[in-house]
Amino acid sequence: MIRRNVLLMLMSLELMLNGINIALLTFSRVGSNLDGGIFVFFIMTVAAAEVAVGLALLVALYKKRNSVLSDDMGLLKN
């Protein structure tokens, strides 16, 4: 089962960053150190900015290629 929709790829990216957040926060709590929590804060910032830029890129690509599937974006292939 393969997903070729770039939107779903971006969503999965968010999910992966969430997993990292949970791990960081757990170690921060267990180690009684706020650094992990603050890092989670920064990861959230980066993820939000990344989603905004990624979706803008996707819209720009959709205007050009009329598709959101990664198969249709192989501009440099061949």
Partner: protein, 188 residues
């Protein structure tokens, strides 16, 4: 098994199940809905870790802003369910699968070797610090938002400025990307 354990399992299953349902759903809108379930589950796990500020931030930023952005783009592009399946070649699938399973088995073996130290019951969970603001360079874990603010404004002064600059750059980049790109004749 006390109530906190029960809640942990409930929200863990909710977040993992929401993530799996998101990956397996074909329609982008249903995927986005399942992602909200997963994100709210993660926020609840943050609450169970006594990090209330980050839980609120998670709900506001992810379940609020990011998901609205995703749904807006889905609506704008009018994306339908993914049609048809095109398989990778068996050789490629086999190589990637082998690689992923080797990594997984390695990680599981490493975890298994250090299992004694990983059982959460054995860890002496430190009590939450009474004072919300500590002058020491080591920031102790705290539920207070003021501890976050203190940490961000002292130890993490440069990173927060870089993060702010990055947000500005992202904003400008998005505006430029979503502008109507001028044709060659206009540019010259």
């Amino acid at each position: 098994m006390n109530a906190v354990d029960l809640l942990f399992w409930l929200f863990a299953v909710l977040s993992v199940g929401g993530g799996l349902a998101m990956i397996f759903s074909r329609h982008p809108v249903s995927a986005a809905m399942f992602m909200i379930v997963s994100l709210v589950g993660v926020a609840a796990l943050f609450v169970l870790l006594e990090s209330f500020f980050l839980a609120i931030l998670q709900v506001l930023v992810y379940a609020g802003a990011v998901m609205v952005l995703f749904l807006f783009i889905i609506m704008l592009l009018d994306v339908g369910p993914e049609a048809g399946k095109k398989k990778l070649s068996h050789l490629k699938t086999g190589i990637f699968g082998l690689f992923a399973s080797v990594v997984l088995v390695g990680v599981l073996l490493m975890l298994g070797n250090s299992y004694d130290t990983l059982v959460l019951d054995h860890i002496a969970w430190p009590p939450l610090s009474e004072s919300d603001v500590s002058p020491s360079p080591i920031l102790p874990f705290s539920t207070q938002v003021s501890a976050f603010g203190y940490g961000l404004m002292t130890k993490y002064m440069l990173p927060i400025q870089i993060a702010g600059f990055m947000l500005l750059a992202a904003m400008v980049g998005v505006i430029i990307l979503s502008k109507k790109n001028p044709t060659r004749e206009d540019a010259s």
